[in-house]
Amino acid sequence: MDRLFEALFLGLSAGATYGLVALALVVVYRGTGHLNFAQGEMGTLSAFMVWWFHDKGVPLLLAVLMGMVFGFLLGAVTEVTIIRPLARRSLLAVFVGTIALFLGINAYTTGVWGAPPDEVLDSLFPNDPDDFVRVFGTVWRYKDIGTLAVTLVITALLFVLFQKTRFGLAMRGVASNTDSARLVGIPTGRILAGSWAIAGALGALAAVLVAGNQGQVTPTLMVTVFTYATAAAVLGGLDSPGGAVIGGLLIGVGEALAAEFAPGWIGQDMKLGVALLAIFVVLLFKPSGLFGTAKVERV
């Protein structure tokens, strides 16, 4: 029973970071209908910036905020200079473009910081051996509680942004009907750049949490997380922010349970397969995801 609770909790904590990246994917997808394959790598690059700021003497919390600003700008610049010109060509051009961006950033971070990997980054939360509470006899470390809490707070903030602000209304308008959005006077370009910027900041935060979890920033920091996040976004519904977070938590729990209880042949190395299986099953049986909206168009 303790093993179950502990696996559940660790799953939720890991799932929270998947959920954050999935949120970033959803914010971009709702705006432009694109899946940003470079989302994870953009976060990794931002996390390296956080490490660099911190290494130069900036306090960690401030460095993280600066890293999120970097991610914000990176997202906006990427949309304006790379995505927008490609989107005038075709959806496929954007698809290939984001993969190229993934490879480019990965090559850059590997080249600059790859060997030896000594970019140590502390967790944002107290992380000494005795920084934990016991719940039902299981160990809940502060950093895991913190990760989960940050994700829930960010989700709530995004909900307010989407549902209660003028910018959020404009974002939902652009996502729902770009042509009409232009006709009511929404500067659609600025809204799309804004969506990518928000996604960039979210990706930066997620990468910092993941890096803090494993103690250092590495060029492959977000590769696995991005795969789980994609599964989470597809599972929750690519246009549903709440679904993305719930999808992330479900994937995290599923992963943890699989690693803890599944037969040996699934084990640690095969658990990524759980995510891929989830993507496959969802796309096959419910392409709009658990909480996504099926596109209905009157003809």
């Binding site: 209304l169 939902r172 729902s176 009907n177 232009r182 006709l183 009511v184 006077g185 209905v296 009157r298």
Partner: protein
């Protein structure tokens, strides 16, 4: 000087030019209809005025040139469009559809809320469905919503692109009545493009006939409606 003056307007899609030297004008508070068959360039005319497609020539609105204005600047200048095929935001609820119509206004949330309530009073059928997604409304309700959404920006000129399209005759009648009363009661000028010549000419003061991207005839609605040769040649009945 007219409210809207269009001179030598050219516009199209990519290398294909649809409008050739199009001229028209709309006065304050006036209802003007542009009649034309499929492919004559009616929708292109509307989209060129709104600035959502590339165009050249001269377009002045309230004395200012808007030929180089972006689509959002055109809305801020006071032109709203009800696009062809409703153009509502299907995933947004009815109330948000109205609120988003006020996006360019700078007079604050309270004024927007007051206007939302006002149009809900004018269109009680929309009020009953204020929390429903626009995509779940009937065609007539969506058209009503699209019109209300457009006037939320407090325009001086309303562009209506075939409001009768795909609606039952009795609903079409209702839409034209709504448009006519908006013009009369709010003083909003209306530029309407239509295939449904009879009904449109009943509410319009002036008529333009559009054929392959250029105006081939124009005049008072009554004169045009009574002119057999024009009717036969361009309206096909």
């Amino acid at each position: 000087m007219s409210l809207l003056e269009v001179n030598g307007l050219r516009a199209g899609y990519g290398p294909v030019n649809v409008l050739h030297e199009l001229d028209l004008a709309v006065d304050d508070g006036e209802i003007v209809v542009v009649l034309g068959a499929n492919g004559a360039g009616k929708t292109t005319t509307m989209r060129a005025i709104s600035g959502v497609i590339p165009r050249s020539g001269n377009v002045t609105f309230a004395g200012r040139s808007i030929i180089n204005s972006s689509a959002d600047a055109v809305v801020r200048a006071g032109i709203a469009q009800v696009p062809q095929g409703r153009g509502t935001f299907p995933e947004l609820n009815v109330e948000d559809n109205l609120r988003i119509g006020a996006y360019t206004r700078r007079d604050g949330g309270a004024a927007t809320t007051a206007d939302v309530e006002r149009w809900f009073t004018t269109f009680p059928r929309l009020a009953e469905r204020r929390d429903q997604r626009a995509g779940s409304l009937s065609g007539g309700e969506q058209q009503m919503l699209a019109i209300a959404r457009a006037v939320m920006s407090r325009p001086k000129l309303l562009l209506c692109d075939e409001p009768s399209q795909g609606l039952a005759p009795i609903i079409v009648q209702e839409m034209f009545t709504i448009i006519e009363s908006l013009s009369k009661e709010e003083g909003i000028a209306v530029l309407l493009v239509e295939q449904n010549a009879n009904l449109a000419m009943e509410i319009a003061q002036r008529v333009y006939l559009l054929e392959t991207g250029t105006i081939v005839a124009s005049g008072d609605a009554e004169t045009i409606a009574a002119d057999d040769s024009i009717r036969k040649a361009y309206l096909g009945y």
